[in-house]
Amino acid sequence: VASRERPRTDRPVLARGVLLRFRDGDVDALGAVFDRYSSAVWAVALRVTHADPLAQEAVQETFVRAWRAAGSYDPDRDLGSWLLGIARYTALDVLRRELRPTRGGHEAEQDVVVEPPGIERAWVSWAVQEALRGLNDSEREIVRLSFYEDLTHVQISERLGLPVGTVKSRSHRAHRRLAELLAHVRDDTEESGPENQRAPGRRTPIMTDAGERGEA
């Protein structure tokens, strides 16, 4: 296998000054944290709650909880992992709250059991969301058209007005880049052991910014 430049996965995305201000409760720093991580938190919240209104509630509560707990955050640790933990349990809390007896009396009194797959898959949702941030716009669009809209290469070429060959080559390049950016999942899987392979990651998967993204 030819050597390649490995994705940089250990460079802070947010400036240390922002992290320090976030730890100190600065609201503007929380805004920067929201801008950086809200997509991933949103994906996790939707994965766990399966409902847009609940996911909105979970996202809002996640960031409010994070701000409240920011004093305990160590700026030397990865903020993404710290935030992912809050997001997972906050989404679970919101779901449990929703399933409790309500004013409308829709559900009977019961212990709420949340299906494990939702919470376990949250980690993969987070990792994929972060990896997609590492693609440039044209790569990400081709992946979206292919996997989400379920279009063939021919259909994508018609949609984008590109030769099929170009679509194929960009598609392959996007897939390889995505795989590189997800390589840490292998480490996390191995370290967690096969019986616990979907445990939450210990670090934010991808660290990228616009300056690192190559253009197609």
Partner: protein, 247 residues
Amino acid sequence: MNTDGHRGDDRFVDQLTRRLDARAERVDPAETGHPPDEDAALADVFDEVVHELGEEATWSGVPFGLRDAVLGCVRTEADAADTPPVTEPADPPSLAEARNRRSPRARRWLLAVPAAAAVALVFTVGVLAVERALEPRGESYSAAGTGLAPAATATVSVLPAPSGFKVSVDAEGLPAAAPGSYYAAWLQGPTGTVPLGSFHGRKTGAAIALWSGVDPAAYPDFLVTLQAEGDAPMPSGQVVMTATLRR
């Protein structure tokens, strides 16, 4: 990472790339001529990655207005934490959970207070009382239920804030939205319709907090609609409450 780790990463990247290529080309991975994935656990991970790439949650993006809602909530709490304490009695702290964290500055201030639990409790209750007493109310308007919710009434308060307009709805008589449905609030004016947020109304005791990024003076018609989950993000036509935000 050691050399073995690099090799493992390379193998992982090659296998996942093949899996993604095969999915995009509608080819069974077994028919690509490459050896199958060596590790069943990784094969499961690859399946999950492919699944996630096809999920709406992966691509839907964060709803508009959520950022302002988060920062608005936190700013309100930060402001409250900076309010000097008093010891007058207060209503039961229905917002207690939302107020149980103070900013670092407030935490330092708290440490200066005698540590007795009773004093701390009185302090906390007092902060809540002052917070409520001093909270700006803005302009208030009356909303009335339509034929779909004839018993519903509400006081709609509009408060300018740095990030937009905070719209609080203190509703009574509005039935809880059934599972699978929810309420959405909107502002309408000559230039269009703007969403304020959604709620289900299944718990009482607190005003519904909504946010507007446009000046309600230019969008004076306030309405609440009943929406079904999965519907398009626009007013459903099932209007349950209306108000005119104009003096």
